[in-house]
């Protein structure tokens, strides 16, 4: 397992996914901090570390994703059929690459982004909606705490 001090710098979301034991599958978002002046966003997450045959198959670890410079961040409106009001728990998510044809409005935005943009989206399970991100690159830090 990677030590808490290890940091992965300047990657695309897909490159970062490859370094995580489960990618962003069944991860959770605890906090999103958007810095307009610093042109960055930090997302505190719980990352699923284990597999089905491990002693604790639900083992998670806290990490922080930083994207800079930020080009775009938006969340689709939640589905009114879902209990989207925050209840004090982290938001379960699933990671997914952005592809043309998923969302017509996003398709119109993609050509306007800088050429080096890395794009990604997280499906927010309790909202039944996606969080979209685009930026120049992503970094990831492991935090000291183990979350289970």
């Amino acid at each position: 397992m990677t030590g808490p001090s290890q940091k992965w710098c300047k990657m695309t979301f897909e490159e970062l996914e490859q370094k995580l034991p489960n990618g962003f599958h069944d991860a959770a978002i605890r906090k999103i901090q958007l810095d307009f002046m610093g042109r960055s966003v930090e997302i505190e997450m719980d990352i699923l570390m284990a597999g089905p045959d491990d002693p604790d198959p639900e083992l998670c670890r806290a990490g922080k994703l930083r994207m800079a410079p930020i080009y775009l961040l938006f969340i689709e409106p939640p589905d009114p059929r879902y209990s989207f009001i925050p209840d004090g728990e982290s938001l379960k998510v699933d990671g997914d690459s952005v592809k043309v044809g998923q969302n017509a409005e996003v398709d119109r935005l993609l050509p306007t982004l800088p050429q080096n943009a890395t794009t990604y989206r997280f499906f927010l399970e309790k909202w039944n909606a996606f969080l979209y991100l685009a930026g120049g690159g992503v970094e990831f830090f492991w935090e000291a705490d183990q979350v289970s």
Partner: protein
């Protein structure tokens, strides 16, 4: 001869096939959940299918991707999630048993962790 037809004889009701419930092992395919469970076509998860029953219970089915093509361990294994919980259930698992085992495990862990503080050097370790 004229056939006289009376009121139609009552037909025996066809019994409804049983549906999955949390006391039963989870099936290996959503089609085996039974008639109470319907797919929610409005659930937009890119990698999962959601099934709901008339009680409002939810089951999310993740079909494991072929080995080497998924995003890691769990993405390549079939599993379920029950009522939006993070816990993973494999086909054959029983939700009630696994949920109880997890709850018991957490309580035992907490009791051992706190009780061990009676041994003074243990308190040099601040967490957990």
């Amino acid at each position: 001869m004229i056939a006289v037809s009376g009121p139609p004889a009552p037909q025996p009701e066809t019994p409804k096939p049983p549906s999955w419930d949390p006391k039963k092992p989870l099936p290996g395919d959503p089609k085996d959940l039974g008639p109470d469970w319907q797919r929610d076509p409005g659930h937009k998860a890119p990698n999962d299918e959601r099934y709901v029953n008339p009680n409002g219970d939810k089951l999310d089915w993740h079909k494991g991707k072929p080995k080497g093509t998924g995003k890691g361990y769990w993405d390549e294994h079939d599993h379920w999630h029950w009522n939006e919980r993070k816990w993973h259930f494999r086909p054959g698992d029983t939700v009630k048993n696994v949920a109880t085992a997890i709850a018991v495990g957490v309580v035992v862990y907490w009791v051992v962790s706190e009780a061990s503080r009676l041994f003074p050097p243990r308190n040099l370790v601040p967490v957990p």
